[in-house]
Symmetry: C2
């Protein structure tokens, strides 16, 4: 049985930077499931019309079609109960939702203010008008204004990362001795930022950079940002 | 067997506002343990010298003396394994450490910038010089400068609370269907701020205010801030 994941790509289709797709790729690895990816661009709405909506990740697992990273994670947890759990017990699953809320409302925003102009430059040309319009509306600023404040945004991002640094100062992974979906969520955010950024978001000796490599190593995945 | 908790008090000794002492009081309630409190002031270092350090909470449980809210929680979890767990399984315990890191490094700071002048006004007169010196050093600003920016601090606090609002929009407690130590940590922060603030930190119809009352109700404790 083949599994297919529609995965957001840049103009260079080897650049796969979506934070939500990264969550799904790590969740699949956590469940010991193999898959192939198909590169997808923001403007390829028709290619995933079969999923009933217009965003990635979209996973095809045999006869199951499922979109939305959280729905995919919940599906994998239920469909593959004998593989390692993505969440642990009920409190762990609930606390993962706090990590998700913080990541999406605080960390993604902080990273966006550094890298939005870089994303615009690296996505497929046919995606750029859509990207500019939606992001400038969301942030109520032009990409050029955001680019002008990049250094301040990096400083704010450094401050935003403090709770992660404090956590990983105490334990190897956000979920403890081994990573789980909480790690996948935060990894997705930082992988997105680091893959697309034209400047280093993290220094290579940052404990967060080491944690990211440890997550990849846990799943037998190749290093992404090694010095 | 009697249990005694040394609990930070204001000039009015019925005002018990320490966020760390609130964690311990809720953890004791979670473990179905009764206790008496002794009011303590910042300058009462001699009264807890027996604990080998100078801060509260300090818990005396039979022949055990233990200081530091996290050490107390870990002690209670180990000493009372047949009572409900404070953390759930290993991933839940690790994720609680992320909640703790975020609360102490982000939420406490945001609340402090609103209420530090109120704390100074409401603690015992003999505590005020110590409090002013340590807090002005930590924040690198005078209490008067902090007071002047109170409205901006409240606006920043409102933004800081967004991940909590998003979480409690999805589930009754931070730890899911019932509260655990992750809820106690965040409750402690907001109880501290709300008990000491001269202005409402939260409106009474804020979902966070309702969640706080639900936490108290879970443990059969009286309402603190009911409208």
């Amino acid at each position: 049985m083949s599994r297919i994941l529609y995965d957001l790509a840049g103009e260079d289709e080897s650049l796969r930077f979506s934070p939500y797709c990264w969550r799904t790729k790590l969740a699949l690895a956590h469940k010991n499931l193999t898959y192939d990816t198909l590169p997808w661009h923001f403007s390829d709405k028709d290619k995933i019309a079969f999923s009933g909506q217009g965003k990635v990740p979209v996973l095809i697992d045999g006869s199951t079609i499922i979109a939305d990273s959280q729905l995919i994670a919940d599906y994998l947890e239920e469909a593959y109960p004998h593989e390692p759990s993505l969440y642990g017990d009920a409190p762990g699953r609930a606390l993962t939702f706090f990590v998700k809320s913080w990541t999406e409302r605080v960390l993604h925003r902080a990273i966006s203010l550094v890298v939005l102009p870089d994303i615009h430059a690296k996505i497929a040309p046919q995606d750029r008008a859509y990207f500019r319009a939606t992001r400038e509306a969301a942030f109520k600023r032009t990409l050029e204004d955001i680019a002008a404040d990049r250094q301040e945004a990096q400083t704010a991002l450094d401050a935003t990362l403090k709770p992660l640094h404090a956590t990983l100062d105490q334990q190897p992974f956000i979920a403890g001795d081994t990573p789980n979906y909480a790690d996948h969520i935060v990894f997705g955010a930082l992988a997105w930022g680091r893959l697309i950024s034209s400047t280093p978001l993290l220094s290579t000796d940052d404990p967060l950079a080491r944690w990211m490599e440890a997550v990849l190593e846990t799943y037998g995945l190749p290093a992404m940002f090694a010095a």
